[in-house]
């Protein structure tokens, strides 16, 4: 394990969130009731997804400027992990909505925006699997990844804010505004976000390293073929 301290930190932070998130006092709000604690678990999934997709965006640009296939491996694995976290975020959100909004899917602008964003990223993996040539695959998917990230910003950050949403804190819904995430909730929420982002990066780094090992192996095999 190289540079292990941030991995241990991610474990400690997430562990603290589970204990503190369930045991620390929270504001008593109608409709939300005890599910206000979902803030500690559902929202960090989206933060992690955004950070991972941001990393993939960075490595896609890096690939286009360097042409190094290693950067492509970084971009792919960051995107895959980001998709994983987006699925977790969507599922936890729908479970929560079933009991607070009355139905799992209510065409809430934030739900629709993230669903579109997820579809765009699903198309990324399908696009990759459809191209045989490695260089071509890397180049096309890097360009597509940049487009996908550029689409994610309006879909997640801008459009849902222009209309009312059912989400807590939006359009006069009971939320965290009046108590402004009261300071006790912040004590758990911020560590939760940092812990989950680090965990997401850890998982992505593991997948990337496996991809790199495979890449070097293939390169070695090609070289030995060439020498024959």
């Amino acid at each position: 394990m190289r540079s292990w301290w941030w991995k241990i930190l991610s474990g400690l932070l997430v562990g603290y969130t589970i204990i503190g998130g369930l045991l620390m006092p929270v504001p008593r709000l109608d409709i939300l009731n005890e599910t206000i604690r979902n803030l500690y678990f559902h929202v960090p999934m989206w933060f992690t997804m955004i950070v991972l997709f941001g990393g993939a965006f960075f490595y896609s640009i890096k690939y286009l400027s360097s042409g190094n296939l290693k950067d492509d491996i970084f971009a792919v694995q960051l995107t895959n992990t980001g998709i994983f976290f987006s699925i977790l975020g969507m599922l936890t959100g729908m479970e929560w909505a079933q009991y607070t909004w009355g139905e799992a899917w209510s065409n809430d602008p934030k739900q629709l925006g993230t669903a579109l964003c997820m579809l765009i990223y699903f198309a990324y993996s399908i696009l990759r699997n459809g191209i045989k040539d490695d260089e071509k695959k890397a180049k096309i998917s890097a360009v597509y990844n940049i487009f996908a990230f550029a689409m994610m910003i309006p879909l997640i950050f801008i459009l849902p804010r222009m209309v009312d949403s059912l989400h807590p804190g939006n359009g006069g819904n009971p939320g965290f505004k009046p108590y402004d995430l009261n300071s006790r909730m912040r004590l758990v929420f911020y560590p939760a976000v940092i812990g989950w982002v680090l965990t997401g990066c850890w998982i992505a780094s593991l997948k990337t390293r496996v991809g790199l090992i495979r890449f070097y192996k293939e390169e070695k095999a090609l070289q030995s073929d060439f020498e024959k």
Binding site: L22, L23, R28, N33, L206, V210, L212
Partner: protein, 67 residues
């Protein structure tokens, strides 16, 4: 007379707000009888397992990188 009225209104307000707060349903029984600790223990165990698995994978990949 006025002071009395003011006192009564304040009292009524205080009582209604406390009642309103108590009416917001929370998992108070689970907390009072300590069952919430069972939930916390179960979740903590699951996450401890997942993190232990991540550490195991990390070590295994490090080994594979060296070879």
């Amino acid at each position: 007379m006025r002071a009395k009225y003011a006192l009564v209104t304040i009292l009524v307000l205080l009582i209604t707000t406390t009642i309103a707060q108590a009416q917001t349903e929370m998992a108070d029984t689970m907390r009072s009888n300590g069952k919430i600790y069972v939930v916390v223990a179960v979740l903590a165990t699951i996450f401890a397992g997942i993190f232990a698995y991540l550490i195991y994978l990390d070590k295994k990949i490090t080994k594979a990188e060296r070879s």
